[in-house]
C-alpha cells in the first residue's frame, strides 16, 4: 500500500509537447510510472517518444482510461487545464505550474469538490511512491521503498530530507510535495488522514515553513486523530520578519506565522521538531524503536 499513487496509476501529461512536459514525461516513464498519454491541443495523433498525444483530456481519458493527470502548462492557462481534467473525470490532478493567480485557485475549489477531484499543488514538485510511480519533477534516484510517509511545502528541501532518510536506511511509503502557494489542493490534514489509514506507513515526516497557520492546525489534528509517530521540520527559523504577509491574512489566522509559534504548536502536540535536517532520521528511529 501507499497513498494517492501506485503501480495502478494511469497518468496523462497535460502540456506534454512543451519543454518541461516532454522532458519530465520521459523521466517519469524511465522511473516506471505508467504514463499512458499526453494532451496538447492541436497536436492530437502525434507522439512524444512512444507516448500518444491527444487534443483534449476527454479524448485521452476515453482512449487510455487515465485516472491521474500532471499539468505542465503556463500559469495563464493552468486553471483551465485543471478544470478540463476534473470535467473529464480524472481523479487526481497534480499541478506543477508556478505562478497561478490566487483567485483562479479560489474559483476552482468548489468545482473540484463537486466532482470529487483531488488536487495537489500548484507550485509543487509532485509526489512519489518509491518503486511504483513518480508523478512530478523529483529526482527518482534518491527515493527508497519503505515505511515513512512524508509531506512538504518545499521542493528541494524535500529532496534533502528524503536523502537523509534514504542514506540512513529509512525508506518511504509515499512522499508528497504539497506546494508553496497560499491556496492549494490537498494539505497536511488530508494527507495525515491518508497516512494514518495506510497500513504501509509506520511514521510520518511533516516539513513546514514560515507563513500562514497550516502547521498549527496540523499539530492540532495530529493531537486529536493521528496515532502514528510524526516528526517535523520548519524552514525559516532565522528568517527576518521584514518579509511579512499582508496583515489581514494574519488576522484571520490569529498568528504571525513565525517558526517559533509553529515549533511550539508541534511540541505541545507531542511532535518533536528537528532543528537540522540531519536530525530527522534520528528522531524517526527513536520513535520507531529501531
Amino acid at each position: 500500500m501507499s497513498i494517492l499513487i501506485n503501480s495502478d496509476t494511469r497518468l496523462i501529461v497535460q502540456g506534454i509537447t512543451g519543454r518541461d512536459g516532454s522532458f519530465h514525461a520521459q523521466k517519469m516513464k524511465e522511473y516506471g510510472t505508467n504514463v499512458v498519454g499526453g494532451v496538447s491541443p492541436g497536436k492530437g495523433g502525434q507522439k512524444v517518444g512512444d507516448i500518444p498525444v491527444f487534443n483534449t483530456v476527454k479524448d485521452a481519458v476515453a482512449a487510455t482510461k487515465a485516472n491521474a493527470s500532471i499539468i505542465f502548462v503556463p500559469p495563464k492557462f493552468a486553471a483551465d487545464a485543471v478544470y478540463e481534467a476534473s470535467e473529464a473525470g480524472v481523479e487526481l490532478v497534480i499541478t506543477i505550474t508556478e505562478g497561478l493567480p490566487t483567485l483562479d485557485m479560489v474559483k476552482l475549489m468548489p468545482y473540484l469538490k463537486k466532482n470529487g477531484t483531488k488536487l495537489i499543488g500548484p507550485n509543487c514538485p509532485g509526489l512519489v511512491t518509491p518503486g511504483e510511480a513518480l508523478v512530478g519533477i523529483l529526482p527518482g534516484s534518491i527515493f527508497k521503498q519503505g515505511n515513512v510517509g512524508l509531506m512538504s511545502r518545499s521542493g528541494t528541501l524535500t529532496y534533502e530530507m528524503v536523502n537523509q532518510l534514504t542514506t540512513n536506511g529509512l525508506g518511504q511509503s509515499t512522499c508528497v510535495g504539497i506546494g508553496g502557494d497560499p491556496v492549494a489542493g490537498l494539505y497536511y490534514e488530508e494527507l495525515l488522514e491518508m497516512f494514518q489509514n495506510d497500513p504501509q506507513t509506520e511514521a510520518i515526516v511533516l516539513i513546514g515553513e514560515i507563513g500562514g497557520d497550516a502547521e498549527e492546525r496540523a499539530a492540532q489534528y495530529i493531537k486529536e486523530k493521528v496515532t502514528k509517530p510524526v516528526v517535523a521540520f520548519i524552514a525559516g527559523q532565522t528568517a527576518p520578519p521584514g518579509k511579512r504577509m499582508g496583515h489581514a491574512g494574519a488576522i484571520i489566522s490569529s498568528g504571525s506565522g513565525t517558526a517559533a509559534e509553529k515549533i511550539k504548536a508541534f511540541e505541545e502536540a507531542g511532535v518533536p521538531v528537528a532543528r537540522k535536517p540531519a536530525e530527522i532520521p534520528v528522531l524517526i528511529q527513536e520513535r520507531l524503536g529501531k
Binding site: 500559469p75 495563464k76 497561478l100 493567480p101 490566487t102 483567485l103 483562479d104 485557485m105 479560489v106 474559483k107 475549489m109 468548489p110 468545482y111 514538485p125 519533477i137 523529483l138 529526482p139 534516484s141 534518491i142 512538504s152 511545502r153 518545499s154 521542493g155 528541494t156 528541501l157 524535500t158 529532496y159 534533502e160 536523502n163 508553496g180 497560499p182 491556496v183 516539513i207 515553513e209 514560515i210 500562514g212 497557520d213 497550516a214 492546525r217 521540520f233 524552514a235 525559516g236 527559523q237 532565522t238 528568517a239 527576518p240 518579509k243 499582508g246 496583515h247 489581514a248 491574512g249 494574519a250 488576522i251 484571520i252 489566522s253 490569529s254 532543528r275 537540522k276 535536517p277 540531519a278
Partner: protein, 379 residues
C-alpha cells in the same frame, strides 16, 4: 504589490464607493492650492507604502492657513518606517459620528475570499485581532455565487441598526467585493468606514494589495506600481530568475529552492554563523544564473565566504558546476567558496569542480561548518 491610499480610493471611486473630496499634492504650494479649492478645514495625509502613518505623525488636521502650511512642511520629506514622504493627500475634513472596519482578503484555510467587518474601526485592526478577536465578524464567501445581497445585508446588520444604513452598507460591501475580484486583490480594506454627520457612509481611508501572480492580466494596476530601492534590487534579481533578500551576516548563500535556502540560513545560524543573504537560484539549469548570482553575492562587501548548496532536481548539478567555473574565469574572486552538490548529476558536477581548488563537501551541515571556519579566517 502595494499601492497608496490615494490610488486605492481612486479605484473605490470608480466603483462608486463614496470617498471624501481630495487632491494629491507634491509640494507645500500644491497643498495650499488644494485647500483653497476644497475649503478649510482639511486633513493632510502622508502617502507612503507603510502602515502606522497616523502614529508616526504623518496625518494632520489643519483648520487655518497657518496650520495648513505647518502640516505640509512637517509631513513632506518626513521619514516613515524608512520611506521618505514625497507626496501627500489633501482631503476635505469630514465630521463623523461612528467608525467601522471592513476588509476583504483570502483565507488559506477555507481557500475562499473572506469578508471581515468590525465596529472597532479607526484603530489598527491587528490590535483588535489580538485583544478582542470576537469584535471582528468574518464571512466566508462562496466563490461560485459570490457575495450575494442577502449576505451583504447580514454583514451590514452586524454593524448598523438603522435600516437606511444597512441598505447603504450592503450596497457598498457588494461594490467592495467587485473591486476585490476585478483587480485580483489580496487585500481591500476600508478603515475607517464612517457615518458622516449627515448620516451617510463614506470611506475615509483605503488600502489595497494585489496578487503578484495576477499582474499579467491587470495592466492598469501594474501601472500604479512604485517599487522602493530594496524592491528594485529584488525585481532586478527576479528578472534574472533569482530570488534575493539581503541580510546582515558575512556568509553569502547560493541555494536552489526557497525552502532549502531558508534551511541553509537556519543551519548557518545553528552552527554559530550569520548568513549574508537569502538567495534562491530557482529551478532551471542555466549556468548564466550562477554567474548572475555570484555577482549579486559579491556586490555585498560584508561577504567573507560563500556557501553553495544545491540539491539537483530540475536543476542539474553539472550545469551549476559549469556556471561556477565560468564565474571563476570571468570574475576576480578571492573569497573562499565551499560547494555542496547532491541529486541530479551530482557526480558529474563534482568531477567538473575537481579542476578548481574549491572546497567540496557532502552535506549541508559540513558546508555550513566549513563556510563559518573560512569566513573567520578571511580578513
Amino acid at each position: 504589490m502595494k499601492i497608496h491610499e490615494y490610488q486605492a480610493k481612486q479605484i473605490f471611486a470608480d466603483y462608486e464607493i463614496p470617498v471624501s473630496d481630495e487632491i494629491l499634492c507634491h509640494s507645500v504650494e500644491d497643498v495650499e492650492k488644494a485647500a483653497d479649492k476644497l475649503g478649510l478645514p482639511v486633513v493632510v495625509k502622508a502617502q507612503v507604502l507603510a502602515g502606522g502613518r497616523g502614529k508616526a505623525g504623518g496625518v494632520k488636521l489643519a483648520k487655518t492657513k497657518e496650520e495648513l502650511v505647518d502640516a505640509a512642511n512637517q509631513i513632506l520629506g518626513m521619514d516613515i518606517k524608512g520611506y521618505t514622504v514625497e507626496k501627500v493627500l489633501t482631503a476635505k475634513a469630514i465630521s463623523f459620528t461612528d467608525e467601522f472596519y471592513v476588509g476583504l482578503t483570502i483565507d488559506r484555510n477555507t481557500k475562499s475570499v473572506v469578508f471581515m467587518a468590525s465596529a472597532e474601526g479607526g484603530v489598527e485592526i491587528e490590535e483588535v485581532a489580538k485583544d478582542n478577536p470576537d469584535a471582528i465578524h468574518k464571512f466566508v464567501i462562496d466563490a461560485e455565487i459570490g457575495l450575494m445581497p442577502f449576505q451583504a445585508r447580514q454583514i451590514a446588520f452586524k454593524l448598523f441598526d438603522d435600516i437606511k444604513l444597512v441598505r447603504q452598507g450592503a450596497d457598498l460591501f457588494e461594490k467592495l467585493y467587485r473591486v476585490f475580484m476585478d483587480t485580483d486583490a489580496s487585500l481591500a480594506e476600508i478603515n475607517p468606514l464612517v457615518i458622516t454627520a449627515d448620516g451617510n457612509l463614506m470611506a475615509l481611508d483605503g488600502k489595497m494589495n494585489f496578487d503578484d501572480n495576477a499582474l499579467f492580466r491587470q495592466a492598469e494596476i501594474l501601472e500604479m506600481r512604485e517599487p522602493t530601492e530594496d524592491e528594485k534590487t529584488e525585481i532586478e534579481a527576479k528578472e534574472k530568475g533569482l530570488s534575493f533578500i539581503k541580510l546582515d551576516g558575512n556568509i553569502g548563500c547560493m541555494v536552489n529552492g526557497a525552502g532549502l535556502a531558508m534551511a541553509t540560513m537556519d543551519i548557518i545560524k545553528i552552527y554559530g554563523g550569520e548568513p549574508a543573504n537569502f538567495l534562491d537560484i530557482g529551478g532551471s539549469s542555466n549556468p548564466q544564473k550562477v554567474i548572475d548570482a555570484m555577482n549579486l553575492l559579491l556586490a555585498d562587501k560584508n561577504v567573507k565566504a560563500v556557501m553553495i548548496n544545491i540539491f539537483g532536481g530540475i536543476t542539474r548539478c553539472d550545469d551549476v558546476a559549469k556556471g561556477i567555473i565560468s564565474a571563476l574565469d570571468q570574475m576576480n574572486i578571492n573569497i573562499p567558496i565551499v560547494v555542496r552538490l547532491s541529486g541530479t548529476n551530482a557526480a558529474e558536477g563534482l568531477e567538473i569542480l575537481k579542476k578548481t581548488n574549491l572546497v567540496t563537501v557532502a552535506s549541508m551541515g559540513e558546508a555550513a561548518e566549513k563556510a563559518i571556519e573560512m569566513a573567520s579566517q578571511t580578513v
